[in-house]
């Protein structure tokens, strides 16, 4: 509930909460914060900066490929820019944006908690993420960026063929990045399982949280494969092991298996939060609950699970045995089903509701359109002979950009508009927002659709240039024009949001009449999120007016206000029955200290100062001890 319409008694409780939860002002506050909303904002601005960098790289690529025999970039620069575009967009933008920024901000608010289950670990995962991003980008800025493509196949990535430091920046940077993601994922699972408001049984949990739960499990099981792969790679590059070396009994295919055991679940890790955003926006603007709610929840969990059984479809041209191919093709077709369930649930919800096509819903319309195109071309890759014909061509580039840009970034853009009033307390400009939708929609179509055709015409991916006589010019030019239109659309979104942040009219707690709990509190939410812990009786608790009135009465009576300290309720995993009251830590310097010392371990490994690396491992241990010196007390 908004804190501006309170009785004096309630007012005094709220004031008390304000004092208890206040964080230090200024830069110190930001460096030591454990507030999930501030950490989410840190994630947001950081990933936005990386999005900008990845976008500039994309425009450089498109400028180089605008015409045949392009001369904008040298081959070496192109390869670094192309690799960094992929690494940035996947590891430094879309995953930390959806999980780190959106997930962090929204999950505790949606489940009626006051923070994540492990607030300091939350801060740690942000600082580690920032460090990993800076780490990888240092490589690019000193001209030693990774240059073997984002999936970094060996033997090309071995010292013999790639003697610079680019690959070491990549491998060590991704291990560091993986630490951050693992910490984050663990935190989400604990938060979602234990932190839900009283009454929020699993079947009443918002679909966004189901998506985040699925993603977190997927991350925890997928990341070790990538980490192990990078450890093997570094051991071979630095110490002389032979994991991938045929002459000594190793096998380069091992890299591919491990990479894709991570890499395909990764695709669902990228799109699932976007599905979660869609399932938040659609009910609000359709003004009704999701059609087939339990099926959609199940589909979100299923897609994360089946996603682990399809990795070899990235390797159909490597000469795997036919039986293996057929198994993975069948699994790749199975993974379609959870997606078709969701697509029909989304569209039927819009049909069944009185849909109001404001900007966020427009972006979801764009998302569904692009997801269906990308999904249909995705099914084609489950036809093994067609996959073997078109893999590693621009047809694949088209397919995964429809998924990653169309299906993952469009909901993020829609979500930026949708939750902007919640985060800033102000409304964005609707007309400009709609214009930005049409611009990005046009730009995306023009950029990525012709890639299908040019791929069928034989253009292979990752070429820094192409000859003029193969009929590829017009399509490439269209892609380049589209990319700049798309960039203009994105800039327009930024302009709208920045302008509205300062000049937008006040939004109030609930401008769109959303169904989930974040709309019950004021905009922006106070540090403690809710003056009284809400009690939940349905999946769309903000539409249950009587329950919200009951919250208001409880604030008056001092029930479930939890104003004796940094407190949040914990509930049972399945039924969401209030279990205990937890004391939460407040601001702490240890997450950032720990992140810095862990990062320094990696810097020392990179620069082969192994003794110093060991010293920083020592410092890490000391920081961990200091971190745990003072535990919050359980009650």
């Amino acid at each position: 509930m908004a804190v501006d319409v309170l009785t004096p008694r309630a007012r005094s409780r709220v004031d008390r909460l304000e004092r208890i939860w206040a964080e230090p002002p200024g830069i110190v506050g930001w460096l030591t914060t454990v507030d999930h909303k501030r950490i989410a904002l840190l994630y947001f601005f950081t990933t936005l900066a990386f999005f900008g960098a990845g976008g500039v790289e994309a425009l450089l690529i498109r400028t180089q490929l605008a015409g045949p025999n392009g001369k904008t970039l040298s081959p070496e620069t192109y390869n670094q820019v192309m690799t960094m575009h992929g690494v940035t967009m996947i590891f430094l933008f879309i995953i930390p944006m959806t999980i780190g920024a959106f997930g962090n901000y929204l999950v505790p608010l949606m489940i009626g908690a006051r923070d994540m289950a492990f607030p300091r670990m939350n801060a740690l995962s942000y600082w580690l993420f920032l460090a990993s991003g800076l780490f990888i980008y240092v490589g690019l800025f000193i001209g030693q960026g990774p240059n073997a493509g984002w999936f970094d196949y060996v033997p090309l990535a071995l010292k013999r063929y790639d003697p610079g430091m680019g690959i070491d920046f990549y491998a060590l940077g991704l291990i560091l990045n993986g630490l951050s993601s693992t910490a984050g994922a663990t935190n989400f699972i604990a938060t979602i399982f234990k932190g839900r408001a009283p009454g929020m049984s699993l079947n009443r949990m918002p679909l966004f949280c189901f998506a985040m739960l699925a993603v977190s499990f997927a991350l925890i099981f997928a990341l070790p494969a990538l980490t192990i792969d990078c450890v093997f790679l570094e051991l071979q590059r630095r110490v002389g092991f032979h994991f991938f070396d045929v002459a000594h009994g190793g096998d380069p295919i091992l890299w591919q298996h491990l990479f894709w055991i991570f890499g395909h679940p990764e695709v669902y890790i990228i799109v699932l939060p976007a599905f979660g955003i869609a399932t938040s926006i659609i009910p609000t603007f359709a003004k009704r609950k999701m059609v087939a709610f339990p099926l959609v929840a199940l589909a979100e969990l299923l897609v994360a699970f089946i996603g682990f059984g399809v990795w070899a479809h990235h390797m159909f041209a490597t000469g795997l045995p036919t039986t293996t191919l057929i198994f993975f093709a069948a699994a790749s077709m199975m993974v379609v089903i959870p997606s078709t369930i969701q697509v029909f649930a989304w569209t039927l919800t819009v049909i069944m509701g009185r849909a109001e096509f404001r900007a966020p819903l427009l972006f979801i319309g764009g998302f569904i359109t692009f997801f269906v195109i990308g999904g249909l071309s995705g099914i084609m890759f489950a036809a093994i002979p067609f996959d073997q014909a078109t893999t590693d061509t621009y047809f694949v580039v088209a397919h995964f950009h429809f998924i990653i840009f169309g299906a993952a970034v469009f909901p993020v853009l829609g979500g930026m508009y949708y939750w902007f009033p919640k985060v800033t307390g102000r409304l964005y400009h609707e007309g400009l927002a709609k214009a930005s939708f049409w611009l990005t929609f046009l730009g995306t179509s023009l950029t990525f659709f012709p890639m299908h055709i040019v791929g069928l015409l034989g253009m292979t991916r990752r070429v820094y240039t192409y000859p003029s006589n193969l009929g590829w010019e017009a399509y490439n030019l269209s892609e380049t024009v589209g990319a700049f239109i798309l960039a203009a659309g994105l800039v327009l979104i930024l302009v709208n949001l920045v302008h509205s942040r300062f000049r937008g009219p006040p939004a109030g707690p609930d401008p769109f009449y959303g169904g989930t709990l974040e709309w019950t509190t004021s905009s922006p939410p106070p540090e403690y999120n809710f003056p009284v812990i809400p009690t939940v009786t349905s999946a769309y608790p903000n539409w249950d007016r009587e329950d919200r009135e009951a919250d208001r009465r409880r604030l008056d009576q001092g029930l479930l206000v939890l104003d004796r300290g940094h407190e949040t309720p914990a509930s049972t995993v399945r039924d969401g029955i209030l279990d205990e009251i937890l004391d939460m830590p407040s601001g702490s310097p240890w997450p950032i200290v720990l992140a810095v010392s862990v990062s320094l371990v990696f810097v020392m490994l990179l620069t082969t100062h192994y003794l110093l690396a060991a010293a920083f491992v020592g410092l890490t241990t000391v920081s961990l001890a200091a971190w745990h010196w003072q535990e919050p007390q359980e009650r």
């Binding site: 081959p75 390869n79 073997a148 493509g149 196949y153 033997p155 090309l156 063929y161 045929v246 096998d251 380069p252 295919i253 359709a286 009704r288 059609v291 087939a292 490597t318 000469g319 036919t322 191919l325 057929i326 093709a329 069948a330 077709m333 369930i341 697509v343 029909f344 649930a345 569209t347 039927l348 919800t349 819009v350 049909i351 009185r354 849909a355 319309g365 569904i368 359109t369 269906v372 249909l376 099914i379 084609m380 489950a382 036809a383 093994i384 002979p385 067609f386 073997q388 014909a389 590693d392 179509s445 299908h452 069928l456 034989g458 253009m459 292979t460 070429v463 820094y464 193969l470 009929g471």
Partner: protein
């Protein structure tokens, strides 16, 4: 409100335009998946056209549903008046039952039948075997059973099943000639095979499809499907050692080839030159291109004086040579027919 009908029609129309464009763009093109010149590729391109039709229908269904969402934005029910239960039934029907049926049929057709027909052949069913070895960034081509070695331009007899054994000398490459068959990776420690069985005489362009480093973009090759007679005489010539140069200038070039250390990297059979780093030049003049199709053979003079210009980073160093040496070398290389 603002979703205009156009927004939903546009992607459908784009799809149609694309379809036409793909059909038309084939004319005069040389690296096109959809201009099959073999039974195998014909299977694959048929697969594509059927899938495209299916995808268009699937997209059409969703486009209609999205359009209905906008068209009926003031009514809270399904067309025909169904409620919650009908909507859930539709999700189950359209989202589970229909895709399971369609995908099962599709799976059996594509991944059992078409796969079988495009699969690598058993050696007993092919008339000959050719070995292709990937290098950064060119293709070495050998004809086992003969002494013939060439590079980047593969000749095969037309209407003859040829077993291609592909391996690599360094990193992973991928052999792909779109008009003839699917692609196959060339992986250290593995011998992969693929069938080439061109049904028409012609020249088919191919390109390395797996990112292989700096000059991945300039690693192309041609497959020439020749009439059997022409192929046999080509192979006989290719297997023979180099002719002795006829002119004094060319003979001078033979010496320059040794002294300028070209011979350290290139083989010219029948001479002392036996390097294995770069392509075999014994019958260089039978090839129409240089540097894996980067430039036409007519630019040989420019290539040997500055090989780093057209294909920067390739393994052939620019050797400072006198004008006289350059002319002699060129004359010699032009005699290698």
């Amino acid at each position: 409100m603002v979703v205009r009908a156009g927004s939903l029609v546009r992607p459908a129309r784009a799809l149609l335009v694309a379809l036409l464009a793909v059909g038309l763009a084939g004319c005069g093109n040389r690296q096109d998946v959809l201009r099959p010149a073999s039974k195998q590729e014909h299977q694959i391109s048929s697969l594509w056209w059927v899938m495209l039709a299916g995808a268009a229908i699937g997209f059409g269904v969703i486009a209609v549903l999205l359009f209905l969402g906008w068209w009926r934005r003031n009514r809270a029910d399904l067309p025909g008046g169904g409620g919650e239960k009908a909507a859930t039934a539709l999700v189950i029907g359209l989202g589970i039952v229909v895709p399971v049926i369609v995908l099962s049929g599709f799976f059996v057709w594509a991944d059992i039948f078409v796969l079988k027909r495009t699969d690598a052949p058993s050696p007993s069913k092919t008339a000959m075997t050719i070995q292709v070895i990937g290098h950064q960034w060119w293709w070495e081509v050998r004809y086992p059973g003969t002494k013939a070695v060439t590079a980047n331009e593969i000749h095969i007899p037309v209407r003859t099943p040829v077993n291609l054994v592909v391996t690599t000398d360094d990193v992973i490459h991928s052999f792909w000639v779109p008009a003839l068959n699917r692609k196959i990776d060339m992986i250290p420690g593995r011998r992969n095979t693929i069938l080439l069985d061109a049904s028409r005489v012609g020249r088919y362009r191919g390109q390395c499809a797996e990112f292989c480093g700096l000059q991945h973009a300039h690693m192309s090759m041609s497959v020439y499907a020749d009439p059997p007679e022409r192929f046999r005489s080509w192979l006989a010539n290719m297997a023979a050692p180099a002719q002795r140069p006829g002119t004094a200038l060319a003979r001078q070039g033979t010496r320059a080839f040794q002294t300028l250390s070209c011979a350290g990297c290139h083989t010219i059979r029948g001479t002392a030159a036996d390097g294995r780093v770069g392509p075999d030049l014994t019958h260089l003049q039978t090839r129409r291109t240089l540097a894996a199709l980067t430039i036409p053979e007519s630019k040989l003079g420019e290539w040997i004086s500055d090989p780093q210009h057209a294909k920067p980073g390739n393994k052939m160093p620019g050797i400072g040579m006198s004008q006289a040496d350059h002319q002699a070398l060129l004359s010699y290389l032009e005699s290698l027919k």
